[in-house]
Amino acid sequence: MSSPARRPAPEPVQPNMYRYDEFDAQFVSERVTQFAYQVERRLKGELTEDQFKPLRLMNGLYLQLHAYMLRIAVPYGTLSSKQMRKLAHIARTYDKNFGHFTTRTNLQFNWIKLVDVPAILRELADVEMHCIQTSGNCVRNVTADQFAGATDEEIEDPRPLSEIIRQWSSLHPEFVFLARKFKIAVGACEKDRAALQYHDMAVQVVRNSEGRTGYKVMAGGGMGRTPYLAHTMSEFVAREDILAYLEAVLRVYNMDSRRDNIHKQRIKILINTIGVEEMRRRVDREFQELKAMGTLQLPQRELDRIAAYFAPPRFETGLSDVIPDAGPDFANWVKTNIAKHKAPGYAIATITLKTPGQVPGDATSEQMDIIADLMDEFSVGEVRVTHEQNLVLPHVRKQDLPAIYARLKELDFAAPNAGLITDIIACPGLDYCDLANARSIPIAQSIARKFENLDRQHQIGELKIKISGCINACGHHHAGHIGILGVDKKGVEFYQLLLGGSGAEDASVGVIMGPGFGEHEIADAVERVVNVYIAERQTGERFLDTYRRIGMDKFKAAAYETAAA
């Protein structure tokens, strides 16, 4: 990126989102003091590494390949400009001037020193941020649809409930030493932009036949070694009962999960072992008692109180509802990166952090600062992080889109590729991660470069490629239309192809094609697979649809035809 001369920063805008009261602020502050004491004890040897590890993980701190990595929570993907500027500041002051947006909508820094973490946490607390439970065997960051509060597709904004779940799960005394991690997502649309069915537990806002709003609860989804799609636990949980229900699910999981084999300790394994019916029976038993106890009941006035924080911004009226003409490049960007907003004259703008050649999901501190400026100037001070490692400006005026696009071009974040083949998800992989078997970022870069031509990208249409550097699947490869899994074959990086996965409402688990491809073969193999799609597709079919119609064989034959040489 050519460093643009920094314009004078606009007046900071505080978006409508949850704001800490004195209790929340004290909670986060005391948590920092608690962790600082744990660090002190570790450095003195009063805690061994084995004892300290779960404690630091529950404050987001990993020991990775090169250094410590700190994972900062971005609850339901929502950030204010003030928070974005603080993240930029932390990148500059404590790290190497960049951060990485993750597939759970958090932000990671890769070059952190243990001894700096208490100071970093204090700085985060200043802007109502934290790293609480972003790792460890506990309830993790609650994620939600990145278009929440802006789309007309939702029954209601899923974020108030997400915030309530966040508070309920924070240092929940019964659930801080679970068998494994526990990930929760919340949705409120038919369209699933938060990959609900791949979560340990998911809550979807629904309306029953009487028109009453309540929650469908699913559980047992997950990626990793053994991917599963979630099962429905309850078609309809009444609003006031939801925390009692979620607590019931967590309790059954905590009590009944295996503890003897780390690869078999997610809730998906429990449900698959005992069966959905039995799981529902056990959950229901706990639920009836917890509900009767009454202490977890969620009154409508509390829901309303939290929802008020997320009230929509005051939308201007009388705006033009036509997106201005600003040239063919801009038009291309609008085609893919703009979604319909519920308010006339407004749009939802996706900033893909996927310009071909870039590290997917990364932003420098300079870019973060400029994005903060864009947030203030064009999007009521607000941005959303997506699980596809992109950003969303949720409330922009259509008439401002050309100016926004021009500014994104200066940032090198104007790739018109949301949902296209170059909008690739990739985990940090072997370049950074202690768990990885293979690098994923260079593979993403090589594929993106190969398909860089925009006409070709549009010809191909929607194609979600997801790359993981190991079986832990942080790159969500099981949910890729084309998934790529890095493996270690006798010390050499190899890449397996999977086809037909989806993390949307039409969720499916990708199917492994066969033996892996080498680092320099994989992009060509992907190209041969894509060519089969182009040759075989019927009108209106995405890659995923063609695969579902014709199956694996032709794709497989093409993929291996040159590799066999």
Binding site: D21, F23, D24, Q26, F27, E30, R31, T33, Q34, Y37, Q38, L47, Q51, P54, L55, N137, Q167, W168, S170, L171, H172, P173, E174, F175, V176, F177, L178, A179, R251, N254, M255, R259, E289, M293, T295, L296, E302
Partner: protein
């Protein structure tokens, strides 16, 4: 070596922990579940307090109506990461209405004591060097809590409503 912390002070352990194959001494005894199941009649016939030590995979509901015979339930942490006992304590206090001593034994951390206290533990087997000050500190690191539990503390939501 260890000592017993109960309700915020160090106390003599009234119970003798008895191995499965050892003879029962006079006085209050703490036995395992298999031993209780094997010698139930004899143990219940004694005129002394009875304690049971449950392993992390043993749900207290197994005891059924016999639970009311015990004044002490010791819940074992085989490895501090095994957090099942947090649910066992909660169930003891809620569903099973147990009012006696729930004791944390085995491998657990200072950093877990607040959570243990919240879910209903009121006694801890701790190393000799452990102090009451440390216990107090463990319980007061976090002034407020978001969710209701067995310690009866007001949640942040309740405090907000009354402020």
């Amino acid at each position: 070596m260890s000592k017993l912390l109960k309700s915020g002070a160090f106390v003599e352990d009234a119970y003798a922990a008895v191995a499965d194959d050892a003879a029962l001494p006079e006085g209050a005894v703490l036995v395992s579940l298999p031993r209780f199941q094997k010698e139930r009649e004899a143990l219940l016939a004694r005129n002394t307090a009875l304690g049971i030590r449950l392993q992390s995979h043993e749900n207290p509901e197994i005891l059924g109506a016999d639970l009311h015979h015990f004044a002490l339930v010791a819940l074992e942490f085989p490895k501090f990461r095994d957090g099942r006992a947090f649910s066992w304590a909660r169930i003891l206090r809620t569903r099973l209405g147990f009012k006696g001593e729930i004791r944390a034994v085995g491998d657990f951390l200072y950093d877990q004591m607040n959570y243990q206290h919240r879910v209903g533990f009121n006694a801890w087997e701790v190393p000799d060097h452990f102090t009451v000050e440390q216990f107090t500190k463990a319980l007061t690191e976090m002034t407020n809590v978001y969710q209701p539990s067995s310690d009866g503390r007001k949640t942040i939501r309740e405090l907000r409503a009354s402020s």
